[in-house]
């Protein structure tokens, strides 16, 4: 019996050690440091909730929180609407639909950093050139204003992520019973009615998955933010993850940066736990 226990712990030891030193220990230290005057090397005294008061008085943090929330709302809508539309198109039976799935998914293979650089070129040079040709000056100087920075991020993320969302919708769309649709057709249901009363209820689980996926992705976004706008102009497009990084590593304010990181952790954890709650509830209902 003793032997039985030994192999269990031996098989688990490497991942448990890694998880402990890489995730759990930094999390515990991080929470502890957020209540001290930690400077990255030592913490000399407790400061209570002073850091957290500073977090909520920090304009860059509040701006980043507002920008991230705004971004998340628009991104969730755009990514899901486009993703579902693409999925509906490429589940029709025509030649080339598999090729197109591959094309729409392709941006997801490439790192966010590189995608942001590619789109920097598109927005700055290609948009300006098109604007010149068709005489629309609004297409010039993209990414130079807060508004174009925001929409630049939205366009980049919709282009990248719609293909990913599409794949998840496809999995559910392909389960939709075709006999059901044909029966409804014979009964005289219009295309819109069939979509509303047959397709939508069938893909409801995919909708839940995708909304949470796009939500937590929007909150954790960093690479694309860094490479497309770098938070500019004047920090107006800086998102939460970038604000944490800059506070800690650019301004060297470790305790404040870590307190922001704890608040960030709570926000993302609440989003994820809500998702777990919803999917468990659905499993029980089914």
């Amino acid at each position: 019996m003793k032997n039985n226990n030994t192999w269990f712990w031996l098989f688990l030891a490497p991942v448990m050690l890694a998880l402990f030193f890489v995730v759990i220990l930094p999390l515990i230290f991080g929470i502890y440091y957020s209540f001290t005057d930690w400077n990255g090397i030592i913490a000399t005294r407790f400061v209570g909730i002073k850091n957290y008061i500073n977090v909520f008085q920090s304009t860059t943090f509040l701006n980043a929180l507002w920008f991230t929330t705004k971004f998340a709302v628009v991104a969730i809508i755009m990514e899901n609407v486009i993703g579902l539309a693409l999925a509906m198109l490429v589940t029709q039976k025509f030649k080339g639909r598999h090729l197109l799935r591959t094309v729409f998914f392709m941006p997801n293979l490439i790192g966010g950093l590189i995608l942001g650089f590619i789109w920097q070129f598109i927005f700055i040079k290609a948009f300006a050139a098109v604007g010149n040709v068709i005489g629309v000056s609004a297409l010039e100087s993209w990414l130079a204003t807060p508004g174009t920075g925001f929409w630049g991020m939205i366009i980049l993320m919709s282009w990248q992520y719609a293909g990913y969302i599409m794949v998840i919708y496809i999995a559910y769309l392909e389960n939709v019973d075709h006999e059901l649709i044909e029966a409804a057709e014979i009964d005289g249901a219009s295309a819109w009615q069939r979509f509303l009363h047959i397709t939508i209820p069938m893909i409801a689980p995919a909708f839940t998955i995708n909304v949470f996926l796009t939500l937590s992705n929007s909150f954790k976004l960093y690479d694309q933010n860094l490479s497309l706008t770098a938070g500019g102009p004047y920090d107006s497009t800086q998102m939460l993850a970038m604000d944490i990084y800059n506070t800690a590593f650019s301004q060297n304010n470790m305790a404040l940066g870590q307190s922001k990181a704890v608040v960030f952790f709570l926000i993302v954890a609440i989003i994820s736990l809500t998702q777990v709650y919803y999917s468990k509830k659905r499993e029980v209902e089914v």
């Binding site: 192999w7 688990l12 490497p14 991942v15 448990m16 890694a18 998880l19 030193f21 890489v22 220990l25 930094p26 999390l27 230290f29 990255g40 693409l86 198109l89 029709q92 025509f94 030649k95 080339g96 090729l99 197109l100 799935r101 094309v103 729409f104 392709m106 293979l109 790192g111 966010g112 950093l113 590189i114 650089f117 590619i118 789109w119 070129f121 598109i122 040079k125 290609a126 050139a129 098109v130 040709v133 282009w159 293909g163 794949v167 998840i168 909150f219 954790k220 690479d223 490479s227 939460l240 944490i244 990084y245 800690a248 470790m254 870590q258 990181a261 960030f264 952790f265 994820s272 736990l273």
Partner: protein, 273 residues
């Protein structure tokens, strides 16, 4: 019936137009990477005139491309192999030991998936800095820490459907736990191993933030890291910057070309579960 034929045709045309729009950024990147600096300025949308293929050797040299490619390949392969070996073993131990402690450990790994990287990165760098582990060994260990949760989760799901009768048969034939797992069980996990490999490989290959904090020395930089500095330096020279971007995405596009179905399945499977 004719009406239906027409509408499928319409859907096909619209879909292909969208496909072209999706590829436009890549097209513009490649076309402009073959222009001179001046040509990009006056002729952004047209074909290169004249062709300037020399951007490529220049960018490759500036990027120290062979070096960063080797670094990326090395870190990705070693990290992914270690994640596969240790996560599958851990999941096997958890599934085959029906005790309360197994459930608790599994729950800890599942909960760890809720922790975003940015919320632990600052203490992580400080702790590993103190023990002089901000190097390649350190980052591989970190990838095991961050990657094991989802991998264990995926292996756990597959292992539950493998009957224990197989283990027992192997035990009777004289295999110990180690042999039972590697010779009998692990080969049966091949489909999920492919998923775990793809999921982790794409993540680690493209990762920027963690390497930028841990292996930021010129001779250990991976492709995304090198690209970041390169782009910052050549932002006014779009011809070189675009050639660099094109080279840096080439390896993964080639990989995608050969295994697109597996890759799409692997990358989305983790998020659905």
């Amino acid at each position: 019936m004719k009406n239906k034929h027409m509408s499928i045709r319409m859907i096909q045309v619209v879909s292909f137009l969208l496909g072209i729009i999706w590829l436009l950024p890549f097209y513009l990147m490649v076309v402009n990477s073959l222009k001179t600096k001046k040509d990009i300025f006056v002729n952004t949308l047209g074909f290169p005139n004249p062709f300037s293929a020399s951007n490529y050797p220049d960018a490759m040299q500036q990027l120290d491309f062979l070096k960063s490619l080797t670094n990326s390949v090395l870190i990705t392969i070693v990290s992914v192999s270690i994640i596969i070996i240790f996560s599958s073993m851990a999941a096997y131990a958890l599934v085959r030991t029906k005790k309360k402690i197994s459930g608790i450990i599994f729950l800890i790994f599942a909960s760890a998936m809720l922790i975003p990287f940015q919320s632990v990165m600052i203490p992580l760098v400080s702790i590993f800095g103190k023990v002089h582990m901000l190097n390649r060994i350190g980052i591989i260990f970190m990838y095991l820490g961050f990657g094991s949760s989802l991998s264990i989760f995926l292996y756990h799901g597959s292992l539950k459907s493998i009957p224990t009768a197989l283990d027992e048969a192997a035990r009777i034939d004289g295999c110990n736990r180690w042999q039972t797992f590697w010779y009998v069980i692990f080969p049966m996990l091949k489909p999920i191993t492919v998923t775990v490999a793809i999921l982790n490989a794409i993540w680690i290959w493209n990762d920027y933030l963690l390497p930028s904090l841990v292996i930021n020395a010129p001779d250990t930089q991976t492709i995304p890291l090198k690209m970041f500095y390169f782009f910052g330096e050549y932002t006014k020279q779009w011809n070189l910057a675009l050639a660099g971007l094109t080279i840096s995405i080439l390896p993964i596009i080639i990989f995608y070309f050969f295994a697109q179905k597996q890759i799409i399945k692997g990358m989305t499977e983790g998020s659905v579960k």
